[in-house]
């Protein structure tokens, strides 16, 4: 029964079989087109254009997203199921996300014979063209977007993660003071599952990070991981869906501030900084009551090299198992992996990093 994900006929049969999962009152579906989206490299994302029929008999257009690993696996060593379960637990919470519909692991319906999950598609755009525009006319819009992003991070960080079951998905720190050490332990435990080559640069860095792990985190929160421009869906000046939860964890909210992409711009006017990390942290503290220090954010920026090493080494491990492996895996296993080591080496004072990847 299984078929290919690029075969709209198969996807039509699959979706009809699961019609009841497509939404309340949906009784039938017609699939018009299936296409692979190019954005994102860690996993495959496909868009499915459909019309659904509700119990009233009315047909209406609707789009869905199918997520799955590449044929060679996933670059980030977070199981696909964990990503799905993260969405599922967030559905119904104040955090805006797409709705996770079902995880397909029935061999009769897995496209191309591998698991996939289906979620709703949230209309909007990941691009904010003005966010990198440094002209004064854009100051207000950039700061407003930054605050909107901080508001949404605040929602994530104030969730009742225990009540929502995130303790079953991610390693739980023994106390707020344990957040940094817990993250290091979790990364090394994950790495031990697939590490095939000793790495002294990583060993030296881990020693330094452990000696400097902050213990003044005030509370354990759900953290999103990579976030900011390119990771969320925007519509009408608001974030309507927070996407890409592959690096989600339980820990110090500073972990998220270390991974914000472009959404906390440094803006200076008349010799004075009017927006930047300290202002963003103050704004966030007003919203949440959570103190995040610049020092802790700096620590987690250093720690990010460990995450980059983790996923690039995972790509290299997959490359050892499959010959040939997909070229993007190979690139991640080579240049990106080396860059992760350069990032790690910065922690102990060796700075050989040249230009950013184009």
């Amino acid at each position: 029964m299984s078929g290919r994900l690029d075969d709209a006929g198969f996807v039509g049969r699959w979706f009809r079989h699961r019609a009841a999962r497509l939404g309340p009152g949906v009784v039938d579906v017609r699939v018009h087109a299936v296409r692979r989206l190019s954005r994102g490299v860690s996993r495959q994302t496909w868009s499915v254009s459909t019309e659904v029929r509700e119990e009233t008999g009315r047909w209406s257009g609707r789009e869905f997203i199918v997520r799955r690993d590449h044929a060679d696996g996933g670059i980030v060593p977070t199981p696909l199921r964990t990503e799905y379960e993260t969405y599922r637990r967030l559905n119904g919470s104040p955090v805006p996300t797409a709705t996770a519909l079902w995880f397909e692991d029935d061999p009769r319906w897995e496209p191309d014979g591998r698991p996939a999950y289906v979620r709703t598609k949230v209309e909007g755009d990941w691009r904010l063209p003005f966010i990198a525009d440094e002209s004064p006319e854009q100051d207000r819009a950039r700061i407003a977007a930054s605050k909107e992003h901080l508001d949404k991070l605040a929602l994530v960080h104030t969730l009742d993660w225990e009540g929502l079951g995130f303790g079953e998905l991610f390693p739980v720190p023994s106390s707020p003071a344990d957040c940094a050490e817990n993250l290091i332990r979790a990364a090394l435990a994950r790495l031990a599952d697939f590490q095939f080559e000793p790495n002294p640069v990583l060993a030296e860095t881990i020693s330094w990070l452990r000696a400097r792990a902050p213990r003044d985190c005030p509370r354990i929160t759900l953290c999103k991981g990579n976030n900011g421009h390119g990771e969320e869906v925007w519509s009408g000046g608001r974030i309507v869906a927070m996407s890409d939860w592959e690096l989600a964890a339980l820990g110090d909210p500073a972990y998220d501030f270390a991974q914000v992409q472009e959404m906390i711009p440094e803006i200076h006017r008349d010799g004075r900084r009017i927006w930047g990390l300290p202002e963003a942290l103050a704004y966030y503290r007003e919203r949440t009551g959570i103190e995040v220090t610049v020092e802790r954010v700096e620590f987690y920026r250093m720690f990010y090299g460990v995450l980059q090493f983790l996923y690039s080494h995972h790509a290299a491990a997959l490359a050892r198992r499959r010959d040939p492996v997909a070229l993007r895996f190979m690139w991640t296993a080579t240049e990106v992996s080396f860059r992760s080591q350069l990032r790690l080496a910065r922690v102990f004072g060796v700075d050989l990093m040249k230009e950013a990847i184009a």
Binding site: P200, A203, E204, P324, A345, F348, G349, V350
Partner: protein
């Protein structure tokens, strides 16, 4: 990083050209070039692996021949032959797989040393960091500097 090595990297490039890029190319000449690229890379893949050994064997055989002919050769080429035979390069490096195995053993030992000496300012750790800088600088030529322009 020791792995992935040249062979695995080239295999992935060939696979991407043949399986993903070529089928999507509509221009006839560009499609033809895709086929040439893949075949050239196959040749490079074998050559990287085979050429050092083949050349070493070839040179040894030819050196033996030239040396054996000696005085049987016409007088006006004897000097050139003798000089070529005498200029045998010193064997300098073991074969790559042996070097890689050696590197893995040595690096595993260094990881154990770092874990066993927790004081950052211990002379062993200071020397280890100096070594790590040089190790990264040596790899930098092909792991970072060789990449230019957009990757995706």
């Amino acid at each position: 990083m020791i792995h992935p090595g040249v062979q695995q990297i080239l295999a992935s490039v060939i696979d991407a050209v043949e399986r993903e890029i070529a089928p999507a190319v509509e221009d006839e000449y560009a499609a033809s070039l895709c086929r040439t690229v893949a075949q050239m890379l196959r040749a490079v893949r074998v050559r990287v692996d085979a050429e050092p050994r083949a050349l070493a064997e070839d040179n040894a055989e030819l050196r033996g021949l030239l040396a054996g002919w000696g005085d049987d050769l016409p007088r006006h080429v004897r000097h050139q032959v003798a000089e070529a035979v005498a200029r045998e390069p010193e064997p300098r490096y073991p074969a790559l797989p042996e070097l890689q195995e050696d590197a893995l053993r040595l690096r595993a030992a260094l990881v154990s040393v770092i874990d066993a000496v927790p004081q950052e300012d211990h002379p062993v750790r200071v020397a280890a960091r100096r070594y790590l800088r040089r190790q990264l600088e040596r790899e930098q030529a092909w792991q970072q500097d060789a990449f230019t322009g957009p990757r995706r």
